[in-house]
Symmetry: C2
Subunit: 242 residues, 2 copies
């Protein structure tokens, strides 16, 4: 059994490029870390190969490369990475469903991961990311999603065109706005529904917001101006889709 | 007008120690960064002094020290800090109220900040932190709280003793548990209520959970095992306290 011990090993050097978006896009692959995520990738039929340390025991029918812990660290942004890393094929974009969450320019990877997790919990079937959202395959997104990205259809779209398209198919599009919005407790839920949430600081862009059919807000104490976007999204999904 | 330009300046060196918990505890002070947080500290009557760059304009009746941006960076963990930093007196612990959130061994600073923000939004009056929670005055906690820590009573307690104490005062104590729990939609809300949420990985400790009067769960799709703890806490507060 061969163990890769050199930090200059070509295979490892190439794989470590997958920590950068440009190379993930070029190669159509990404990395996941730790047993839970590797198993989720395997179950989804997307696991290409595994890189692990000698003592870490797994029994998957994919190529396995054994490396020292120092070498494995080159494939992770964590200070103390877990001892197994999966090389995974990017997910396919599927047809959109009837319960859609649209994210406009969401920037924080932790927020995107959390929102993916909540979307699966509350039965969203399609997440639509604007072109300028944080990369879905960013390691922090994947970690925060707890592997839930393998359980939901996630597609990338030009949001404005996409809203026109689903409007013509009879979807109701909801935005969030405090003034002239309806309390989420009172919103009537349509069969074909899309909810738009926006950037952490700026919210949903005005030109996108203008395309919404209805506006909703979460009732809250006046001392608090706003919620974390991951929390706000999750409460709306809980209230409307669960 | 004197401008501090030396990274070796004694005052700055002393203040930079407030980035470390031990010194925050010793000095009973902490740092906040950016106009919004400094103003929240001022409004709360806790702002001791301000450190800022020359071009940053403010007009507060507290001592102001002007420094170069390089010097100011010594007072922040951010790569590109905002140009005003406040030195703030730690908050006082007040009497507990009737709507209590207890956090047992919560570790992620972003989660604690988010939960503080949601607690203010949904009318919690007291947050109780176990001794081993992440430090309330950690810069990431403060940033994620968006200054809401100045709008709520936060106290540190031995959780097990605290539960016995509030039990004797007629509070109902709720824990989260999927098995044998009640759907949060159906929970009857008592006048004096405490909700316990736990650690990101391990949840609430068994010995603490055993002390609860009732258990609740958030209904969700079976593909998803659990929610982010900030999200779960926020949904429970939204459902029970709003």
């Amino acid at each position: 059994m061969e163990i890769i011990t050199s930090l200059e090993n070509k295979k490892i050097k190439n794989l470590s490029k997958l920590l950068i978006k440009k190379y993930r896009d070029q190669e159509d692959k990404f990395l996941v870390e730790g047993e839970h995520l590797v198993e989720e990738a395997l179950k989804a039929g997307k696991l290409i190969e595994v890189i692990k340390t000698e003592e870490y025991e797994i029994d998957y029918e994919v190529p396995i490369t054994i490396v020292t812990y120092e070498v494995l660290k080159k494939l992770s942004n964590s200070v103390t990475p877990q001892k197994v890393i999966g090389v995974v094929k990017k997910l396919d974009e599927k047809e959109i469903g009837n319960k859609i969450l649209i994210l406009d320019n969401l920037q924080d990877p932790g927020n995107l991961g959390t929102i993916i997790r909540s979307s699966v919990a509350f039965n969203v079937d399609t997440i639509v990311l604007s072109e300028n959202c944080v990369d879905l395959y960013n390691d922090k997104v994947i970690r925060a999603s707890e592997g839930m990205l393998f359980h939901i259809n996630i597609v990338k779209k030009d949001i404005e065109k996409f809203i026109d398209e689903i409007h013509s198919k009879g979807y109701v599009v909801l935005g969030t706005r405090v003034t002239d919005g309806e309390n989420i407790k009172n919103i009537e839920v349509n069969d074909k529904l899309a909810i738009i949430m926006g950037n952490e600081g700026a919210g949903v862009r005005r030109e996108v917001l203008d395309k919404c059919d209805k506006y909703l807000y979460i009732p809250m104490n006046e001392s608090c101006e706003s919620l974390n976007v991951g929390v706000a999204t999750s409460i709306i999904l809980y209230e409307l889709f669960k």
